[in-house]
Amino acid sequence: MSAYGLLPFRFLRFDVARTLLVNDAGDYQILGTRDFEHFVHHQLGSEEDAYLDLKAGHFLYDSESLAPFELLATKYRSKKAFLAGFTSLHIFVVSLRCEHSCHYCQVSRVSADRTRYDMSEETARRALDLVFRSPAPRLKIELQGGEPLLHFERVRQIVEEARRRATIEGREVEFVVTTNLALLNDAMLSFFLEEGVILSTSLDGPEALHNANRPRPGNDSHSRTIAGIQRVREVLGHDRVAALMTTTRTSLQSPVEIVDEYVRLGLTSIFLRPLSPYGFALRSVRTTGYSMHEFLDFYTRALDRILEHNAQGIPLVESYAQLLLTRILTPFATGYVDLQSPAGAGIGAVVYNYDGDVYASDEARMLAEMGDTRFRLGNVHRHSYSSIFGGDTLRRIVAASVAESIPGCADCAFLPWCGADPVHHYATTGDVVPHIPTSDFHEKNFFIIKHLLTLCERDAITRRIFWSWVRQESLREEEVA
């Protein structure tokens, strides 16, 4: 019997021989089952390696020293640092119109009616008033649609006004325009260059797949996207445009081809995303849908291919893995809305719709398009900052998304690395509190976290690749060799 006390941790039988322990700060340790049993029964000897590792990892303490508690407190504060900044990502839906008619698209409209679906100048101005009320030290404004380039004068107004106000207030602001690039012209490019705007686009894979997923008049989405990427690189710089992909039923067959298309185009990141259960996507579930299990099989195969490329010195990051790995391997916080507890809906990111309605998340906006406005926080024309960001609606969302209090999450070993998504769970089950055994959110995160840990433990090369993703730099040459 050794005289030591246990510090708070959660655990999971990792495989037949090993147990994973994770403390509240997200530090982890994998122990042989025998050591684990001895540990929890206070039978580890104080000179055993397992004892020393657990002590240094802040799973046990054996003196009155404040060090483990102070260090844990600091790490816990770091992990929750996203809370202090409050809402930093502000998403503007400058128009609901789009000239694409993607099967999975959540809410956009092919329409010529500008007045009905475009954000007005006054709405944009009032939304910016709210943006600049946010205490966040760094602001990020994302302009999306629909297709925001269909309403470029609003893009221009928002960027210019936000820039001017940020300069006056001495604040940092960053701009991202989410666009399919099909309508990009030289005037827009020179504006983006002048203002330092970053572009985010969609690329679903090789030409046939992409065009099948993303129909537009002329059936030329893929070639327009690629031409757009090249133009952006020429004018703004190679790293000023990133792409993400949406996985459809057709995509499931082609993980390798999709990844290779990204490599062929010299893209350095890929975000493998499942379909969202909203809007048109939900209605067309029979033609484009699939189970989470099928998605995860696709994800695994795509990730293998990505790792193969990395091992050969080709830098390509999978963005979701990068987020999770940052949460697992480092003591730092990440700002991804669905991977934090409480969820970032409203308190990390917020959406200003074209009509001035304010939503806690893009998913909340889509739900409203389907007729359920329960996650609408207010309207820029009718409500004040304090009633939108301090009102009951947002308070309820935050309270429902503290994973530490959600049954099934509270005692999960992965909790410190995971998050909560109340809007998603409401949309899929009618309840903001998830039913973990049947939750696809849980299925996805649990599987991917465990898969990443398994890969980390498996071999040194993969571990080094993962660390290079976390550092957001490509692997140094000597590490590939």
Binding site: L52, L66, A67, W467, R471
Partner: protein, 384 residues
């Protein structure tokens, strides 16, 4: 080269600290020590703080003088020299060196097994005034200045005063302080240092183990680990930059990679981690049985620890290692850290192609050394 010497003094009734002047000055005479060579003064010394004479003394009256010096002939304009009433003359600062440091105090609250500068218990708190005066006299164009000990923070508020003085008088000089960091356990002390907001200050703080008892044993001070790791947190809280220094020996090597992971996880804010070979002087000789391990025997551990820190995005350097025993994959991290006037090479080094890049040995540390020292040839393949 000698940095101190005993002189014949006349009229030195208190400690004189002054700036050397080889040529007559237009202003600032009262802080200057006029240098006379072969009995010849460059000008009338009246109004000067004193005269330093190499060799025979010139005719001087009314100005303190130290004469008969032979070895301090390297003294040059801007160097700072102290003359004690007992005739002891020593150089505090050399303008053309990159290795100037202030030995703040010889007292220490730890007693590390491998201390290269064994502490003394005498109360030397009076030194603070000398240090403050030295800072006033140092050329503000100086790029780097070190503060070492003993434990400089034992001056408490005097330490803060010294840092504040450096900021005021030497605003563009990088300041590097060697401290065990223990007193920053007290948050208000860290806060006060942070409030000084020195523009270019780094505290180099040693951490020898991820396990408290092991660190405490190495530094021979109960509770030191707790104080140092919480001190590191407090310094980061108040935006004071820290460097973590790990000395490699038989007691720190076994958990080196675990220590690296501990640093990456708990002190990711450290701007630099230095992995340092044992310096073979001071107390180390008394504890050689416990401490000595041939560096050639710990390359795997070193490689792993450096890899963990580098993966986590930290800056890592390796100090005090000869290149012939260092794994080639670690060469990019090796720094020539030994001061220019302290390093030497051995007969075994003759013909080595890497001598230009290698830090060599401490002058006083060539007796106990790796058995694997050998000249590198152009064809040599990487070890291990």
């Amino acid at each position: 080269m000698r940095l101190h010497e005993t002189a014949h003094v006349v009229g030195v009734d208190r400690l004189l600290i002054g700036r050397v002047a080889r040529t007559p000055l237009l202003s600032g005479h009262h802080n200057a020590l006029l240098l006379a060579e072969n009995g010849v003064l460059p000008c009338d010394p009246s109004g000067y703080l004193g005269v330093i004479a190499l060799g025979d003394p010139p005719q001087v009256s009314g100005t303190p003088i130290a004469s008969g010096l032979r070895r301090l002939d390297y003294l040059d304009d801007g160097d700072v020299v102290a003359i004690h009433p007992n005739g002891f003359v020593h150089t505090l600062y050399r303008r053309n060196s990159r290795h100037n440091f202030i030995l703040a105090t010889e007292r220490c609250n730890s007693l590390c097994l491998m201390c290269s500068q064994p502490p003394k218990e005498d109360d030397d708190s009076g030194r603070l005034e000398e240090h403050l005066r030295l800072v006033d006299l140092i050329d503000p164009a100086t790029e780097e200045l070190g503060i070492t000990g003993g434990e400089p923070t034992l001056f408490r508020d005097g330490f803060l005063e010294l840092i504040a003085r450096c900021k005021r008088r030497l605003p563009t000089t990088s300041l590097h302080v060697l401290t065990n960091g223990r007193l920053f356990f007290y948050r208000s002390f860290a806060e006060k240092l942070g409030q000084i907001a020195h523009p270019d200050l780094v505290l180099g703080i040693p951490l020898y183990s991820d396990i408290d008892q092991r660190h405490d044993y190495i530094v021979q001070a109960q509770g030191a680990f707790e104080e140092t790791v919480i001190g590191l947190q407090n310094l980061d809280r108040y935006d004071v930059r820290v460097e973590i220094r790990v000395v490699l020996h038989a007691l720190s090597i076994p958990r080196l990679s675990r220590l690296a992971a501990f640093i990456a996880r708990n002190s990711p804010f450290a701007c630099h981690v230095a992995l340092m070979g044992l310096e073979m002087f001071g107390l180390v000789h008394q504890h050689l049985n416990e401490l000595w391990i041939d560096p050639a025997g710990y390359q795997q551990e070193l490689l792993e620890a450096a890899g963990i820190l580098r993966d986590a995005g930290m800056n890592v350097s390796i100090y005090n290692h000869q290149l012939c025993i260092l794994d080639r994959r670690l060469w990019p991290l090796a720094r020539r850290s030994i001061s220019d006037w302290k390093n030497v090479y051995l007969p075994e080094c003759n013909g080595c192609i890497a001598m230009g890049q290698c830090g060599g040995f401490f002058q006083s540390g060539t007796k106990i050394r790796s058995e694997y020292i050998h000249p590198l040839s152009p064809t040599e393949t990487p070890t291990s």
